[in-house]
Point group: C2
Chain length 459, copies 2
């Protein structure tokens, strides 16, 4: 089909959709370091993780040998409701930039959760249902993950209890109401419903909460109620595995038109969307079949890759989760108010961390104001109003396309557009009003945070 | 392709997209009554409408003879960015209802404006640009039309001045910020920038505005500035014409799989989305080629079809626009607080009014609480959180599917899902909290409103 004009949007047909997820760990010579116990420093086993997490999901978390894992029929059917997502040729953006580069983006925002989060939410809900659970618990910050999970749980008729950071619960009521519409019970965190919540409220009356605290409450709720487990929307290797549906579809759509990308760009918070997008391409690099430049884009305000340490650290601020080896700013690092909420995580997927450490992917940090400028430029020509998180990838894609304009190179650039910004208009308003600023942590701040890294695993 | 399983989503390929709009008036034996002048009662001519509206759009408004009108290349290219919209087989809803009916919906919400409004916005912006205008003015209530038009104007680099009803400007800042992100100038109405605005502010200090007032300001702004015209997002026949892209795609997708619908259902406010969806099917009825049951669904709180009068009336509360013959509740009828903002219009497209009068389409009025219940049921199984307006169609589609369950009939039902409810979460919250009520105007209220219908055209 090489002579055909590439359409604006490449949609795979239903029978071309991936039927397996791809587990990049199977092709990695240097495997990601295992999750370890904060108490013993020993790798955690299936039975030690099962009290908190669903059985099948723990298996997936620990599986670094099987390259392909079948997607169950029920999940495939749910995927068919909102997938394939389109691979879009950004003709209008190319024309606006006057670049010889060819730009494509994989758009994950065409579903009610507004992002890629649904790809893993439906898988996690499915395995919980399959295990015969009554329900699951989770935490959410701005509400993207909670929304996706509420949709998934409603589909499988599972109970869902979401602990939502109190400041978001109060100031961002829209996503809360979406979750309630899907039948989720949403509790502002910290709450009086858990021991840890009560403790935090007693120690810090009037606190507006934090993601770390919400995680602790959700975990306590799960382990103290029969028939409930805790689920998490990023960072973990199982989540990255489910998100490979993005990369596999992207690869299939490119192959359909004989397109060979030169570079693949994605934003990186916990890393699951980026990992999902790039896994099939990294796999080809690992197997020596093909080469690609792969770029992770992170906010300059929360630069885990570009300024973090590669060390064992807690996955959560509340220190109730296992330790993972990853690029981290320290689990107590509090990024300044950055509106790309989904990218404010202190650490990075251990799979991506290992790949970065081994030089298979590179990273760039970009400042918020320039990201919103790129978002606005993109929205005006491509129609879609992007999420602030996704716009980090847009910023670097535009930078690279402008380099091509200078050099005359006709590079093919693919980037991940993870979602829409419809629930982020407060941030856009700040940008529209010229009231947005940039903040970069000082070396001293980072050193102070690194000093608190745990000894376990790092000796 | 009849033996193939119908996929969850039918997407046309780019070369299957409609290249012409269909003008149903050409096939109507009883043509819709013409727009008339409030002063003279005479049909308005091209030159009388041109001071306010774009030249080519006036031509389309007055054209009741050409059945097909070419879609210009630039508009086709813009359509390719977000069209075709999917025709979705509601497998999950069918299973949930346990109905033998086959349900399909044409989903227009997968674009940043969140609705079908963009189909006409891009056409109107194109013709304004083609005429060499600097910009256009318009009014917006909740902001759906303003958002769509801001995207379209930004694409063609046209200036846009939006008069937004003040109460929405202040209480619904999100869509306002979307418009600003696309470069539109948004002014709360009434404002001090127009004579009519100043007059209204002097007479009603502290008023929070109305759509009628915003229309008057937008028209005054257009006619008093060189290079500007006024554009409108519904009711007019030109808008219905542009919206036929919905129906033509629907027809092509159904034909591709040899599907013959028994009924077609759509929500009706000003009527442009419903008219656009059903035009090709009504055309077949008019030409005696096929039969379909076609149902317009309106809110019981604003029942133009089911309880209105078929008479000449003002299109706007401010009485600055021409008179149209339509089913109307009277231009001064104020519907009670109904959250389906887009359906609160007092009148109905003159094309649809004539078709209804001639028995080619039927109508039902439904109450708000039952509409939100249908919306929630739909969202939980089909994933998409629908706009309150669109949910009127869902409600009747579910009712009809349940009738099939009783009778055992395997009817094929197609309905229009015009958009998403992401900016309507305040209404959903009311429903979630059990604080939503239903209101139906009394006969006395309607009679009082009918008494104020103009004499012109109705003698």
């Amino acid at each position: 089909m090489t002579n055909e004009k590439i359409p604006y949007k490449i949609y795979l047909s239903e029978n071309e959709l991936p039927k397996q997820w791809y587990n990049v760990r199977a092709d990695m010579k240097n495997k990601p370091a295992p999750l370890i116990s904060p108490a013993t420093g020993e790798p955690l086993k299936q039975e030690e993780l099962e009290p908190v997490f669903c059985r099948e999901l723990v298996k997936q978390e620990l599986n670094d040998t099987d390259a392909y894992i079948d997607i169950p029929e029920d999940i495939l059917n749910f995927y068919k409701m909102y997938r394939p997502s389109p691979l879009v040729r950004a003709y209008c953006l190319e024309e606006k930039l006057g670049t010889p580069a060819k730009i494509y983006y994989k758009f994950e925002g065409n579903n009610t959760s507004g992002s890629h989060k649904l790809n893993s939410a439906i898988a996690q809900a499915y395995y919980a249902k399959q295990q015969g659970l009554k329900g699951v618990t989770t935490e959410t910050g701005a509400g993207q993950w909670g929304t996706a999970l509420s949709m998934a749980c409603s589909y499988f008729d599972l109970d869902l209890r979401v602990y939502m950071v109190k400041v978001s619960y109060e100031q961002k009521p829209f996503r809360r109401e979406v979750m309630r519409t899907y039948g989720a019970q949403v509790t502002p965190s910290p709450s009086e419903t858990t021991e840890i919540g009560k403790k935090i409220l007693a120690e810090h009356p009037g606190t507006t909460g934090s993601l770390g605290c919400a995680i602790s409450e959700a975990v306590e709720d799960a382990v103290s109620h029969d028939g409930y487990k805790y689920v998490l929307g990023s960072v973990l290797s199982q989540v990255l595995l489910h998100q490979t549906v993005i990369g596999l579809e992207t690869k299939a759509a490119l192959d359909k038109y004989d397109i060979h990308p030169d570079m693949i760009i994605g934003c990186a918070g916990g890393g699951s969307n980026l990992g999902g997008l790039v896994s099939p391409f990294v796999g080809e690099k690992l197997r020596g079949e093909n080469d690609y430049q792969i770029i992770a884009v992170e906010p300059a305000s929360c630069p885990s890759f570009t300024r973090g340490k590669f060390a064992y650290d807690f996955c959560d601020t509340g220190h109730v989760c296992p330790l993972a080896k990853m690029y981290t700013l320290g689990s107590e690092f509090i990024p300044s108010a950055n509106h790309a909420g989904g990218l404010r995580y202190h650490g990075m997927s251990s799979i991506l961390s290992q790949l970065y450490h081994d030089g298979l992917i590179e990273a760039r940090a970009v400042e918020q104001t320039s990201v919103f400028q790129a978002a606005q430029d993109f929205a005006r020509v491509e129609g879609i109003l992007p999420a602030p998180e996704s716009s980090h990838a847009i910023k670097v894609a535009i930078d690279e396309a402008m380099k091509c304009k200078e050099t005359g190179e006709e590079k093919t650039i693919v980037f991940g557009l993870t979602g829409t910004g419809y629930f982020d208009m407060v941030a856009y308003q700040k940008f529209n009003d010229g009231e947005m600023d940039d903040y970069i942590p000082t070396d001293e701040e980072l050193e102070a945070s690194f000093a608190k890294l745990p000894e376990v695993g790092n000796k």
